[in-house]
């Protein structure tokens, strides 16, 4: 197809021709084109089908407010649906496709829905698809989803990268039209750090779309000159292709920069960058958006906004039609007529709703005073318009101008309410602006070029930046507007929201059915709820609602705009945080050793921990775990326990501090000793547990659970700074500073004797259970040794500086070879702690108390500690409270199920008969059967009782026997040996 609608002029590079495809058809354009301008140049009027009725639709606007021309861009994984053709920059090889039709765009099989439209008005879905209820999910919803909709996702992973960034400035200028450029220039000349962001790829705003002159030069040339001056200044950052999508607290703005969307490939660069801009002040110079007038069949391809038709002619050198009529209620429409005629486009008529003289001379055009368009003809594109007086005019394009709405969106992002101005028949920014923001130009209701330039300088002077800049000469062009929102004589459907297919009749019907508040109207009709957020639809709909209720528009209200101004891709919001990089992974110090030795890993919080170490010939994870347990209990096992939180606590009051944050006493802990500690929440619920070692007179080392390492530290700092600010105590997290290994099993001491330097006496007498101390290992390397045991075996934990962790693991395993040492992972660790009856995360689940855990007597009543007052509430100390006990299956061959509920024999499995729950289960290789820990009412007094463990989730139940939680070595002989 040739570019037979291409006319002269414009900001395009005619020396270069680029090719693209639309629905597979090859077309041509030039650098500087948008997809929309190129489609129009090639005579492609029909570009898509509407959301609900599958009506043929064409390009309606020339900017980001476009409701109709949504297309799929690119192919394969990079395919992007719902892209506005009006802002998609053309590049060589671009592939675009229309959306939402079955069959071809020209013969959409779903267009039949349009014939059913009398039945499909507002609220149809709510009223019709209610009954029978069960049909909704299986029948109605899938059918509606298949017939209504937008573009398709590729269903492949997004191949592009996205980034995030931070910028700081004195002044953020939003929009690079006449007022924005003047504001930027004045502030930059005064030395301010300025950022200018504009959603377009050429700065200048409407100056590029008009034939108005500034300082005797064309508007576009003047803008290019200012942009060049700004670009040369080191205190200015120009950001074209960048949409300021949200105004957030304290001068922070969200900006989406489209870095490579205009290129065939991103070349490895981020496709888009989401900027967070910190500004002292911001000038909102976002311009204005033209609004349509609603009349019968006003949605046909070829019906366009007059300002857009003018922009296509002036900026892109494209005639939107061969015969273009203008329908206007304002002076502005006349400029479209004049510019088109000047470019040689035939304008048969200017239809002005006002009974007023011509605004300017438009050769060849009939001036129809006080007339309106009431209907159109042309199935896949406009052919004829019918006026209210009955006459028909043959046209292939109708330029409609209903006046302009200031783009107040960002002024509303912090609850600001726009105010109505009768003289403009439009909302302008209210007084309650986001702090630091000022508004200039058309966005502020300064609708003429001269006024926009003037305001641009004036606002930055008010902010205290500018020295007096010379104002360029420009005219105050005529902008009179007499509001007309719809043509009441229209009998055919008159569209308001083109994207969501909402008509004037729908709004009237909503009113009849009682949906009179604007927010109700919006939700009932879906007006303004499409991806364009009703930029061209909201105000006319509001006006019609006002008419219905006999109120003024400001009395009827306005909808509040929320971020984002235009859609922001999820990929840009995610940035680099996706897939493997969704959050950081923390690796244990011995990670490389574990990888090299067959470990399978599991995520524990942010950590990757070895779960088990499979050996050749093992059939499944159970084989490995059983072996690790048996070999540890039989001789020696080694486990990286670095992930436990470690907090270094120092100061003269460190002991007193511990006494207050643990529920049990720490005042009597001797130097060189370790004690188990239980922390409560202030409400008396058990929170975290661990051990604390007293390394010196005023020096303690606390361990926390892996899961709570961060929050325990946070709470300790809270206690230190907010509760007892004068205690002499200091905290630092050393979790990452020390690599720590559990060395467990009958041969633990024998191994350590070969690793810890000889000067240190490790005999049971010199270094008994719960001892700790500073030692050296491997010939002089400083280390810490703790004789503590989670497994129930003779066990130690040895800590070395983290950078030696991987080597330490190697040494322990190498030296341990003579004892058949095995590395063990988190599964074996879990099995052994259940065998020993130690509580862990499943037991400290935020619902249990020390009383429930069988540690009620640990809660000292002789001292203040966090949680002790509320832990003594009668309800929490009930005599029939659940207690932590052990369970084994009566039929030893059965596997217990975690989460099972305990029900008495003969009782029904109901809530009333619930006696507790199984919290942890494991297969114990030491005992040869399944074992469990659980909470049972009065459990400690019911040893030997047989109960049912019922798991409704699994649909299973089994008989279990209540036993001691200490399945292994109940007297602790092993760990003390």
């Amino acid at each position: 197809m040739s570019q037979f609608n291409r006319i002269g002029g414009g900001l395009i590079d005619r020396s270069t021709e680029i090719t693209f495809t639309f629905n597979g058809k090859a077309m041509c354009g030039h650098p500087g084109d948008t997809l929309a301008s190129a489609l129009l140049a090639n005579g492609q009027r029909l570009v898509g089908r509407s959301f609900k009725y599958h009506r043929p639709r064409g390009i309606f606007t020339a900017g980001s407010e476009e409701p109709n021309a949504l297309v799929e861009l690119r192919k394969g994984a990079a395919q992007e649906p719902n892209t506005r053709a009006t802002v998609a920059e053309l590049f060589d090889g671009l592939s675009a496709r229309s959306q939402n039709h079955r069959g071809s765009l020209e013969f959409d099989l779903m267009a039949v829905t349009d014939l059913l439209s009398p039945f499909l008005s507002a609220g149809f879905y709510y009223k019709t698809f209610m009954w029978p209820r069960a049909f909704w999910e299986k029948l109605y919803e899938p059918a509606i989803r298949a017939s209504a909709g937008l573009g398709r996702l590729s269903m492949e992973e997004d191949p592009d990268t996205y980034d995030k960034g931070y910028l700081h400035c004195d002044l953020l200028v939003i929009g690079a039209g006449p007022s924005g450029l003047m504001a930027a220039l004045a502030a930059a000349r005064a030395g301010a750090r300025v950022i200018v962001a504009d959603e377009d790829f050429v700065m200048g705003g409407r100056l590029n779309a008009e034939t108005l002159e500034v300082d005797g030069a064309s508007g576009a040339d003047w803008a290019a000159g200012v942009v060049a001056e700004l670009a040369a200044m080191s205190n200015v950052r120009l950001m074209p292709r960048s949409t300021v999508y949200g105004a957030y607290d304290h001068g922070i703005y969200g900006v989406l920069e489209r870095c490579t969307d205009h290129l065939a490939t991103s070349g490895g660069k981020p496709r888009q960058v989401l900027w967070r801009v910190y500004s002292r002040h911001a000038v909102l110079a976002a311009g204005a958006t033209e609004r349509p007038i609603a009349f019968g069949n006003n949605d046909r391809p070829g019906v366009m906004l007059a300002g857009a038709v003018r922009a296509y002619a002036n900026r892109w050198g494209v005639a939107s039609g061969r015969r273009v009529a203008v329908f206007t209620n304002s002076d502005d429409g006349w400029r479209t007529a004049a510019d088109l005629v000047a470019k040689g486009v035939e304008v048969p008529a200017v239809i002005d709703t006002r009974d007023a003289p011509a605004v300017c001379d438009v050769p060849g055009a009939r001036h129809l005073r006080g007339a309106s368009v009431m209907d159109t003809k042309g199935r896949k594109g406009l052919r004829q318009i019918r006026l209210t007086d009955g006459q028909m005019i043959d046209v292939d394009c109708l330029a409609v101008s209903g006046g302009w709405n200031p783009n107040v969106h960002l002024t509303c992002h912090q609850r600001g309410r726009p105010e109505w101005r009768d003289d403009l028949a439009a909302f302008v920014p209210g007084r309650d602006l986001p702090p630091g923001m000022v508004v200039a130009g058309a966005a502020n209701g300064a609708m003429t070029l001269a006024a926009a330039l003037r305001e641009g300088v004036a606002v930055v002077e008010r902010l205290g930046y500018a020295d007096k800049s010379d104002l360029p000469r420009a005219e105050d062009e005529p902008r009179d507007c007499a509001p007309v929102w719809h043509v009441p004589q229209s009998r055919a459907r008159a569209w308001l929201d083109l994207q969501n297919d909402v008509t004037v009749k729908d709004v009237k019907q909503a009113h009849q059915e009682g949906f009179r508040a604007v927010e109700h109207l919006k939700r009932y009709t879906t007006l303004g709820m499409a991806t364009d957020q009703g930029k061209t639809a909201n105000i006319p709909a509001l006006a019609i609602m006002a008419e219905c209720t006999d109120r003024t528009i400001p009395e009827t209200g306005t909808t509040i705009f929320r971020p984002p101004y235009t859609p922001v891709p999820i990929g840009a919001l995610a940035g680099r945080a996706r897939g493997r990089d969704f959050r950081p992974h923390r690796l244990t110090p011995s990670h490389r050793w574990a990888e090299a030795n067959g470990a399978s890993f599991v995520e524990v919080g942010n950590w990757l921990r070895a779960q088990w170490f499979a050996r050749e010939g093992e059939q499944g994870w159970r084989d490995s775990v059983d072996r690790e347990v048996l070999m540890t209990r039989g001789s020696l096992g080694i486990c990286d326990v670095t992930t436990l939180g470690k907090i270094d606590i120092q100061g003269r009051d460190a002991g007193e501090f511990l006494n207050r944050v643990y529920c049990n006493g720490f005042a009597t802990l001797a130097v060189g000793k370790v004690r188990y500690g239980l922390m409560l929440r202030e409400d008396g619920i058990a929170y975290d547990d661990g051990t604390t070692a007293r390394m010196g007179e005023h020096h303690y080392v606390m361990t926390t659970t892996t899961a709570n390492a961060v929050t325990v530290f946070r709470r300790l700092e809270f206690a230190r700074q907010c509760l007892w600010p004068d205690l002499d105590v200091h905290l630092i997290s050393t979790t990452d500073g020390w690599a720590q290994f559990a060395v467990a099993g009958p041969n633990a001491r024998n191994l350590l004797r070969k690793v810890v330097d000889e000067a240190h006496d490790l005999s049971n007498e010199a270094f008994p259970f719960m001892a700790c101390g500073e030692v050296t290992v491997c010939g002089g390397m400083p280390a810490r040794l703790f004789r503590i045991s989670f497994s129930g075996e003779l066990a130690y934990e040895v800590a070395v500086p983290a950078r030696y962790g991987n080597a330490m693991m190697g040494v322990l395993m190498e030296v341990g070879a003579e004892f058949d040492a095995v590395p063990y992972g988190t599964e074996a660790l879990g099995v052994m702690r259940i065998e020993k009856g130690h509580a862990a995360g499943n037991e400290l689940n935020g619902q249990t108390t020390a009383h429930n855990l069988g540690m009620g007597r640990m809660v000292s009543q002789k001292k203040d500690c966090i949680g002790n007052v509320l832990s003594q509430r009668p309800e929490m100390l009930r005599e029939d409270a659940v207690k932590l006990v052990g369970f084994r299956p009566v039929d030893r061959a059965t596997g217990l199920i975690a989460g099972s509920l305990f029900i008495g024999q003969g009782d029904a499995a109901t809530m009333e008969n619930d006696q507790g729950w199984m919290s942890s289960v494991a297969y114990s290789p030491s005992l040869g059967h399944s074992i469990g820990l659980g909470f049972l009412k009065r459990g400690d007094a019911r040893m030997g009782e047989i109960l049912r463990a019922v798991s409704p989730v699994h649909g299973r139940e089994m008989e279990v026997e209540v036993v001691s939680a200490h399945f292994i070595d109940p007297d602790g002989e092993r760990l003390r040996g």
């Binding site: 957030y248 607290d249 304290h250 001068g251 922070i252 910190y278 912090q414 702090p435 009051d653 202030e682 409400d683 961060v710 946070r714 700092e717 809270f718 700074q721 907010c722 509760l723 007892w724 600010p725 004068d726 205690l727 203040d864 002790n868 007052v869 509320l870 003594q872 509430r873």
Partner: protein, 95 residues
Amino acid sequence: MIINHPLLGPRDAAEFVYLGDAALIDRPDWQAEDAAEAFHTYGYLRDNPAGAHQELWYHEQGDRSWLVVTRDTVSHEITAVELARDVARARGRGR
């Protein structure tokens, strides 16, 4: 939001962790007659004002200071930022 840290200057709120009402500083006396009642109030009852609100923020991605921030819950305007330790001392907390 931006929090003007008394020691470090303006910092993005993303560096902080929010806790809530600064009344949490006023932990009751565990030995008082009405300790149970007082701790219940301390633990569970909060004002929810539309307007100025003193609240605790923790500079976790920074210097680990707990701060008392006076913020308008309607406009998010921050009118004062103090070290919680200073506030605690001023309210009579010590050892």
